[in-house]
Every structure is written in structure tokens, then in C-alpha cells.
Subunit: 390 residues, 2 copies
Amino acid sequence: MREVAVIGVGMTRFGKYLDKSLKDLGRVACWDAMKNAGMNPLEIQAGYMGNAAGGALTSQTMVLAQVVFREVGVVGVPMMNIENACASGSTALFQAWRDIQAGFYDTAIVAGVEKLYASDTQKTMAALAGGGDAELEMSVGVNFPAHWALRATKRMELFGTTREHFAKVTIKNHKNGCYNPRSQYQKEFTMEDVLGSRMIATPMSQLECSPIGDGAAALILCEASKARKYTDKPIIIAGCGLSTGSYQETRDITFNDIEQRAAVKAYEAAGIGPGEVSFAEVHDCFTVAEMMRVEGIGLCQHGEYDFLLDKGEVEIDGRLPINPSGGLLAKGHPVAATGVAQICELFWQMRGEAGKRQIANTKIGLAHCSGGGIAGDGAVSVVSIAKKGF
Amino acid sequence: MREVAVIGVGMTRFGKYLDKSLKDLGRVACWDAMKNAGMNPLEIQAGYMGNAAGGALTSQTMVLAQVVFREVGVVGVPMMNIENACASGSTALFQAWRDIQAGFYDTAIVAGVEKLYASDTQKTMAALAGGGDAELEMSVGVNFPAHWALRATKRMELFGTTREHFAKVTIKNHKNGCYNPRSQYQKEFTMEDVLGSRMIATPMSQLECSPIGDGAAALILCEASKARKYTDKPIIIAGCGLSTGSYQETRDITFNDIEQRAAVKAYEAAGIGPGEVSFAEVHDCFTVAEMMRVEGIGLCQHGEYDFLLDKGEVEIDGRLPINPSGGLLAKGHPVAATGVAQICELFWQMRGEAGKRQIANTKIGLAHCSGGGIAGDGAVSVVSIAKKGF
């Protein structure tokens, strides 16, 4: 199989854009990515668009790829719109990576574009609830905060995790977000702030839940041997794995097999083991989620993440920085844009362009994104592993 | 590249299912396809779901693949939800075909599931309007009937096509639909019926527009060398092409390049030319669309379709049967299900299982599906060419 390089990235700041459409946000991110890559739109051979809630929350119910990519001069080539809930953008990347690997294309644009702010919060909440099994889960009230609160409660019982441990995730990620000009929130929070914030689903307080947001991110991919024409600092997507959740009637809800299985595929494809990973962006939709994801993808043992937090190992200047971008908690979580924005962060970090949040050791970067909540397990998980090119 | 066989198909009758969910409809089609293939769900290595309007019209806004495939015992494997407006199901097939060709999987399930009936027609109409460029086209009123009416008017001027020619498409397809137990409409119409039906957008009357409908269709794909384990009558997807529309500021609106380019890719991949095609299912969303599609994919010359209609050549017993299933006009058009249902029809016809609508010569079958309406051209077009296996 051929190698696939990321040669340019673009991203809007995540936030609230009531005066912008999906097309507006997508145009900015895609154009920035093409400028960053130094690629002419006519050289792009395929387009992959991730979007999750456009049908439910905007007038652009379909064909967002065609509408957005046309704005930046990409027309006539194969395009598709891909949805896998919160991992929509990651799935778009996964498929583009696959298709370039297999030799169907040499170049592609991948974007994740999302608008979650709607006329009222209830509309947004209803749309997001449809990221689980609408008939099975909405009817019994097991929405996303409830899912994660159950896991957090069980984790406290099993491992002695405290509310302070959870809060440390928020504090770390918001601190990182302060150094990221594209982060939705750029404000530090104290332990008191987190513990004292409004309770959403015990033990998860408001500051432990990722916010509603709008935004877009885009990547230009190129078959690695042709990347030198455009850049001398590509990053290579060395492996990418996608998995869906299994039935686990007697399972431990503090550990989802879905992340593990996606990660194993990615490690195998990359020929890189978890011990070699220098830093990671993971799907911290809730504080407990960051813990479970880092453990699920094998970067530490099940139950061990609390100690990494206590020892500061997952800070930007620690041994294994987690979510240097600010993660979903601070940078924001415009659903389909998230997985693509994670790759933007790997790209900037690995090229030494991350400014005040720059990590020292960026040899191997990992991005993890999960989506959906089918019956307590995830609906999908995607893990990508990046190494430096040339 | 490896060859890809269709070894089983399933399909609900298209119609109005106010008491059924996307999950209900999808379950039936997927289960029927697996039974038809004689395949255990645990043998299925990947799932591809086409859906276009679920986000806008149902509570299941996301992860439909995971929700539906889980119903029939397919869990844990890579899945994705693919949308390309009316060609969503065809695009799901395209991607599954690609991935099996490339060796990523040996087996896959592909489904198209759609519910268009909503609380009121305006809601459905608004959702469908988002299949074009919502900002550009909805604001100026160029909805789908208007687009096609402009093309029809221009065709009448250029080629002398009459309203009777258009009506012959409706009459033929509804006649075919009478022989298809899964057709939404099973009623013959006369020339007077069509010409006298309510005018929607001159010169397109109501009976010249495809109806609103709900439904589902599913396919089981298998790498061809492994297909004999399951069936001695597979059909092979010999070629599949996907293209998006180009900018054509000075173009002839009676001919879309999008169909032509998708078809050329499919013919090249299959090593089969248009002259070898025995019959076709094409995207007759409006009567004039059938004409333009057959001409676009090269089955006759531009402007020639009127003569084929006059001579009866495109009837079930003619030289080149077009839409033996009843097409979108009679069988119905639950958006994403349509492209998958077209492959079901090729499968039944090519195995001699099409009952009263059986065609004599079914050596090579072609399916064409288009979706979206970005600025007068299509947003996407998919052409698949099938031949008999073994």
C-alpha cells in the first residue's frame, strides 16, 4: 500500500457563528488548507466531507461536499458526504486515506464542517440525541451526559477516581486552550470553578461536558512520494483504524472495546506501538471520556489515567501530552469538524508550528475520535497515527 | 483489482409507512438480503448505509448504519453512513465495491433506507430542497421541478420533443410497475391521464414527477472468487463510476456532462461499451430526466430518445428496455433506497427472477443514479454496470 501525507491544513476558530452558514465556515477552512498546501484546486482529485447535524439543524440537508468544495474551485471530481456522528470527520479522513493508499487517487481534500447553534438549544439537543439509537435510547432518557455519568460513577467505585481527578482533565485542557488561538474557550478554570459548576448528570458538572459549537477544519492529502512538490514538512498518516461497537451484555462500562479495536488496527497498519506515541488528541467529550479513551487506546493501563493526571504527565510539558489543543472541552466540539481538527493539531505540533502550546517531543502523534452511543457502547471509533515525513 | 459479486438482495415494497421507522424498514431489507445470500451476519466484514433525509425528517439524525445493521446481527465491523442526495445508496455501493476491489474486505452489506413521509408535505419539500445549494438555489426558487421543467422546455425547442413524448415515459414506467410487486404504484395510466394531470412546472405534469415515498433496499457483496460458496448465480459489478458536476456557464441544459463522465468511468472499469448494454435502470425523477439520462450515459444519441419511445424500443419487450422495475416514476423514489433498489432489479432480471416483467436479453445491465442539483448541473452521478458471474 502507498503512504499518505498531510500537506496542508486549515481550520476556523471554533465558536458561535450565528451569521455564518456551513458553506461560509467550510469555505474558510478549505481555502486555508489549500493555501497552506500550496495546491491548486484543479489538482485535487477527490473530496470527502464530514458533517453530522446539517440535515437536522440547517437548510443544507444534503450534498455539503459539493456545495463547499465548489466554493474553493474543486468541481467534477468524485465526492461524498460521510457521517458517523462525532467521528464523521475522522471517518472522512479514514476513507480518503484508504482510497489514496489503494491508488484510486493521488490527492484529496477532507473537511469536517458543523453548525450546532440553532434557533434554540432543544433543537440542538434533539439532533444530538439522534447520534444514539433514537428509538431505544431517547425513549429511556439515556442521553450522552447520562451515558458518561454512569461510566464516571462506576469508575469512582472501581478505581477510587475522585471528582478532583475528573476536574483535572478540565483544568488541563482549558489551560491548553488558552494557548490555542482557534480554541472556542480561552480561559483558565480552577478546581473550585469545576467542582462548583452546575451539575449536569452526577458526577459530571457543566465544565466537564464539551460545549456546543460551530466550526470547520480541512486537510489536503497527497500520496507521499508526490508530496515533496508541495512541502518539505509533510506528516504521514501511518495508520488509521475504524471500528464499531460490539454487543457486550456483561461488559465493564468503564472500558469500551471499541477504542481498543480501532487502535489495534491503527497500530498494526502503522507498525507503531502505543509505547512509541509521543502525544495524542483524544475525544474528551466529557472528562471521564478522556480517561477512558487514553486507556482504551492503550496509552496507559485501565484505571491508570488518574495517576498520570496527578503526576502532571499529560500536561503539554509532561511525558505524554494529551489534548494539547485544548481538546473538545476547551477548543470546542462542532461534531464533524472535531476529528479533522485533531489532525490539524498533530500537523502543527509535528511541524513545530504550535506556538505557545508547542510540545517538545512530537515524533509520533495519535488522534482518537469516537461517535454515537448505541446501547452504551460507541457507534464508531477512529484512531489515526501520524509520523513525520521525509 | 478483484471482482465484486452481488450474491443476495432484499427490498421492501416502496410506499407510505407512517407506522414504520428507518430501523423497521432497514431491518426488513437487510434481513431479506442476508437470507437471499445465505450468509450469516457474522461473516459480513463491513457495512455501508445510504440515507439522505433522515437527519431532516426523522429522530434518527445520525449513525443509521450502526442502528440498522445491529438489528440484523452485524456489529463490531467498520461501518459508515454515506450521503450524496438521491445517489446516496449508489454512492454507498460505489464505496463498498471499491473497498472490496482493493482488498480491504471480502464481504459487505450495502443498504439504502429512507423515509420521506413526514408530518406535512412542506417539511419534506424543504428537506429535499436542501439537496441543491440551499443558499443559492432555494432563494431564487429553482427547485427540482423547476430545474427539470426548464430542461424540458429547452428540449422541446431544440428537438421538437412533444408533451406526448414525455408522457410516453410515464405510461411505459407505470405499465412496468404493474408487474412489480414492490412498486409503490401498480396502476396503468393513459395518455389522457398524463396530459390531463395537474401541472406542476410547465411542461411537467404531476404524473411526470416521481412521488414521495418510504422504503429500503439492501445488497450483500462478496469478492467474486468466494461467491460460489453462497450462490451459483451471482451478478458481478463489472464497473462503477462516480462523478460530480462541472461548471458549464455556456452549456446546453438539455445535456448534463455529469452522467456522461460517470458512465465513461464505469464503461472503462468494466471493459464494456454502451453498445453492449442489454437493459438499464435510470434515474427518471421526471420524465425528461429519463430521456437525458439515457442519452447522457450514451445508450442513444442526444435527442434520439423520443424516437426510441415512439418505436417501443425501450419497453420490456423492446431492444433496450429502460426501467423495467417501473423506475422512480412508478416504483417510487425513497431517495437513498433508489440506487440500491436499481441493483436489486438488475439482480432479479439477470437471474431470471423478475416474474411478469422479465426481460429476454439480460446479458449486461446498467444502473444510473444522480443526486442533487447544484446550479443546474447534478451534484453527483453514479453508473454501475453488471454482468453475469460464473
